[in-house]
């Protein structure tokens, strides 16, 4: 099973956004597009129906390797063997949910201001939602908290936080620039005519931002070379420094320079020069 810390894109169900299309169809598309954690949120359905939906989503997420969270109801989460529960500020306190679910299941909390975030972290929440960043149709009554709360959370919160509320491909980069590393979307994914593509775009922004954030950005000026078939410019003096620029230094990858394998132990000694052809490769699924 996944760890919540590995999760980057959170999708919350909202069947009102996709009339005529099934819950499972839409959520499966979202997962295939890159959502790695899924929440069942349905304020209308009677509990028995909610449980049926939860069981179906449990089966789907287990098959596709995504985490599954139930909104509001620890009993439904337990009955459906969900990975955890998500609580609003008016729902059960974290401690009560924790007693019901035990230490291994996930408890997440919606927060709308820094004091709530700090309290949730102290109470033992595994993650928090930070928002709504923008005004949203999912929660029309709640005022947007704006990007400043995202930046505060990025500085003060140590557990994973998902920015939520009105997030869509058009504003995702602003939210990431404010310090978010994880995003949550409802209507932008499930209300899209193509939920898989919507999820893929959001996921793409998250990963690109990680890649381009200061520690990972290859600098400009310096040596021109070709890395994995693509022209690039680097200030790196050695293969190890080049790998670090691409955030590959601590990953299980193998390097080749101008057609010759360079054993990892030699990365720090092997120079990178103008017009070098470097390959970084790894194992992928195959037959």
């Amino acid at each position: 099973m996944r760890n919540i810390r590995e999760c980057k894109l959170y999708v919350v169900s909202g069947e009102q956004y996709h009339p005529g299309r099934g819950l499972l169809e839409v959520m499966e598309a979202a997962i295939r597009g890159g959502a790695d954690i899924v929440q069942l949120r349905d304020k209308e359905a009677p509990k028995r129906e909610l449980l049926r939906k939860a069981e179906a989503l449990r089966e789907l997420t287990r098959r596709l390797g995504a985490l599954f969270i139930v909104n509001d109801h620890p009993d439904i989460a337990l009955a459906a063997e969900a990975d955890g529960v998500h609580l609003g500020q008016e729902d059960l306190p974290v401690e009560a949910a924790r007693r019901m679910l035990g230490p291994d299941r996930i408890v997440g909390v919606s927060t709308h201001a820094l004091p709530q975030a700090v309290a949730a972290e102290r109470a033992g929440a595994d993650y928090i939602g930070v928002g709504p960043v923008y005004p949203t149709g999912t929660k029309p009554e709640r005022a947007a908290v704006t990007l400043s709360y995202v930046s505060e959370a990025a500085r003060a919160v140590r557990i994973p936080f998902f920015a939520i509320g009105g997030i869509q491909p058009g504003n995702a980069e602003d939210v990431l620039a404010a310090g978010a590393r994880r995003l949550c979307a409802v209507s932008a994914i499930v209300g899209s005519p193509d939920p898989e593509e919507a999820a893929r775009r959001l996921r793409g922004y998250i990963e690109r931002w990680e890649f381009e954030s200061p520690s990972g950005m290859p600098a400009s000026g310096g040596v021109r070379l070709i890395v994995n078939g693509r022209e690039g410019v680097t200030n790196a003096g050695t293969l190890l420094e080049l790998a670090a620029e691409y955030r590959l230094a601590d990953r299980r990858v193998v390097a080749e320079r101008n057609g010759e394998v360079v054993p990892r132990a030699g990365w720090s000694e092997v120079p990178v020069r103008e017009d070098d052809r470097i390959e970084f490769v790894h194992f992928v699924g195959g037959g």
């Binding site: 099973m1 980057k8 287990r62 098959r63 596709l64 390797g65 793409g204 998250i206 990963e207 690109r208 990680e210 890649f211 990972g216 890395v227 994995n228 078939g229 693509r230 691409y246 955030r247 590959l248 990953r251 299980r252 990858v253 193998v254 080749e256 057609g259 394998v261 054993p263 990892r264 390959e279 970084f280 490769v281 790894h282 194992f283 992928v284 699924g285 195959g286 037959g287």
Partner: protein, 280 residues
């Protein structure tokens, strides 16, 4: 004694299973792990690809197997000739996960059939460099012999083109290969279901390699188990020795003591229905 696995040694390693499992195209890593467990496979195959420099979160397939004791068999897919295959093999070995390699050189984009000459060249060179070389090859008995002479640790003739599920198109050739080979024969590519796996084993193969038929089955985990059982069944059937095929029936019971006289053969001119005078 477990007759179904007894005796399969490749590259000095005694294998726990005669099923080699590919790791591509599963619905998710979780399903892949479960399928691997259900298959009982000891050897798992991989491909080598460029790291995606834009998507650093993507991670190597290996993280899903770190807790298992497996033999890793990287393939050289994507190579169009022996030079490229050798480069890929060296990169794979540099990952530090052993020195097995499946030579896979496909020169034709639609059939993905192996290029026999380049496959032979690559096998020769890699064997000389100390690799345990398992070439994916055409189902040609003479070519398999040449590969064996070039130093292949096993030969892997295809049943039919990769991913087609067409099964074993030339059982006659495959039977010859199995009969002649002095190295293990692993039938690779084209198998579609458990029946094909059992057939391969009955023809005398020492093992099979499957990926697509498991990964793309409606229930990959169940199909992985079916493949495991089919290999055992096919292997036992081979060892047990099948009866010869005959044109005419032989009753399972002795004729002595039967209650009624044996039926006379009907005349070939009078169809059974006509002589009965019209049942309807």
């Amino acid at each position: 004694m477990d007759r179904s696995t007894n005796g399969l040694v490749i590259g000095g390693t005694t294998l726990r299973s005669r099923l080699f499992l590919g790791t591509g195209r599963y619905p998710s890593p979780v399903v892949m792990r479960q399928a691997l467990a259900a298959s009982g496979a000891h050897v798992v195959t991989f491909a080598i690809r460029r790291v995606n420099l834009d998507g650093v979160a993507e991670d190597t397939v290996l993280q899903h197997f770190s807790d298992r004791e497996l033999v890793y068999l990287p393939n050289t897919s994507g190579a169009a000739d022996a030079d490229e295959a050798v480069r890929i093999a060296r990169l794979a070995r540099a990952a530090g996960l052993g020195d097995w390699v499946k030579v896979e050189i496909s020169a034709h984009p639609r059939s993905l059939l192996p290029d026999p000459l380049e496959t032979l060249r690559a096998t020769e060179r890699l064997a000389a460099e100390g690799f345990v070389v398992l070439p994916y090859t055409s189902d040609d008995p003479m070519l398999c012999k040449r590969l064996e002479e070039a130093g292949a640790a096993a030969v892997m003739p295809g049943g039919s083109p990769i991913g087609t599920g067409l099964g074993i198109l030339n059982p006659y050739n495959l039977g010859w290969i199995a009969e002649e080979a002095r190295v293990p024969v692993i039938v690779d590519a084209g198998l579609g279901s458990a029946a094909d796996a059992a057939q391969a084993m009955e023809l005398g193969a020492d093992g099979i390699l499957v990926n697509t038929p498991v990964a793309r089955a409606r229930d990959p985990v169940a199909m992985a188990e079916a493949m495991r059982l089919a290999i055992e069944a096919g292997r036992l059937s081979r060892l047990a020795g099948r009866i010869p095929k005959k044109r005419y029936a032989t009753a399972s019971s002795e004729p002595e003591g039967r209650l009624f006289a044996a039926a006379e053969p009907r005349s070939g001119n009078a169809p059974a229905g006509a002589s009965r005078g019209g049942a309807r």
